[in-house]
């Protein structure tokens, strides 16, 4: 498996963090819009295998709220909601997010940075979970991401094992 610039890199950091990054072939202002404007978020946020978005609302300013709802087939609606803590277009976005069915576990603090270089933009999504248990639970649930050492390191290792 060859890792290229545009692939999604994922690593776990410390006990409570997950870092995901990806580079897009577009300037930061376009990527920032696509990641924040609800009418655009609606078009990509739900991974195909996880169903479709049934609702997407976001008041993108400090203290503003958002709520993303997706649904797989006729399954239950799954809502993620939160509040923006920092909005600095087109560079940085910080928010707290709650997965509503598991509200009691606490919120994840997510920092998204947009680094533009030579017309390309690398976005880094850094999530800090309330505890190691919650982070590992997220990993195990299939809801999202993760790992500590760079994925390509493990890739190389596995390839070398043949």
């Amino acid at each position: 498996m060859v890792t290229t610039m545009n692939e999604t890199d994922m690593r776990l950091q410390g006990d409570r963090e997950i870092v995901i990054s990806h580079t897009f072939n577009a300037p930061a202002r376009i990527v920032f819009d696509a990641v924040t404007k609800p009418e655009l978020v609606k078009r990509w946020w739900a991974p195909k295998s996880h169903g479709a978005m049934v609702s997407c609302e976001a008041d993108v300013r400090v203290g503003g709220a958002y709520r993303y709802v997706m649904q797989q087939g006729n399954g239950p609606e799954l809502a993620f909601s939160g509040t923006y803590l920092e909005v600095t277009p087109p560079k940085r976005l910080v928010y707290e997010e709650t997965f509503e069915p598991m509200k009691h576990l606490g919120a994840v603090k997510v920092t998204v940075t947009f680094e533009e270089k030579d017309g390309k933009t690398r976005i880094v999504n850094h999530s800090v979970y309330p505890s190691k248990e919650v982070r590992d639970g997220v990993l195990a649930s299939g809801m999202e991401h993760g790992m500590r050492e760079a994925m390509e390191q493990l890739d190389a290792l596995v390839v070398s094992l043949g």
Binding site: N6, E7, T8, M10, L12, I20, H22, F24, N25, A26, I30, V31, D33, A34, V35, L40, R43, W44, W45, A46, P47, K48, S49, H50, G119, D136, L139, A140, G142, E144, H145, G146, M147, R148, E149, M151, Q153, L154, D155, L157, V158, S160, L161, G162
Partner: protein, 119 residues
Amino acid sequence: MGHITPMVDTFAALAEPNRFRIVELLRGGPRPVNDIGLSLRLNQPQVSKHLRVLKEAGLVDVEPRAQQRLYYLRASELRRLHEWLERYRRNWESRFEQLGELIEELKKNEDYSDGHDDE
């Protein structure tokens, strides 16, 4: 779902930097404990401790040969871990693929409305 928790343990075993170095070293073939210590500049109690964790996680195993105990990598467990983590990465990749398509579309629209080339 029964295999999920042990998978997290396997992952935790590999996440410690010295243990990851040991696993990388064992890619070259089976090695005795003292040899691992010398190669990685770790003392024997440290190496033994790390090997114990790796063995419990199913990542390495040991076989006696002559006077020595040789540690070797168990590829099956590493592959299982890799597949497990790869699923989560793919979720995001699938999401980012969709985002990438959207971004291409936004770029095109912008070029048409801008009418100039800023490359």
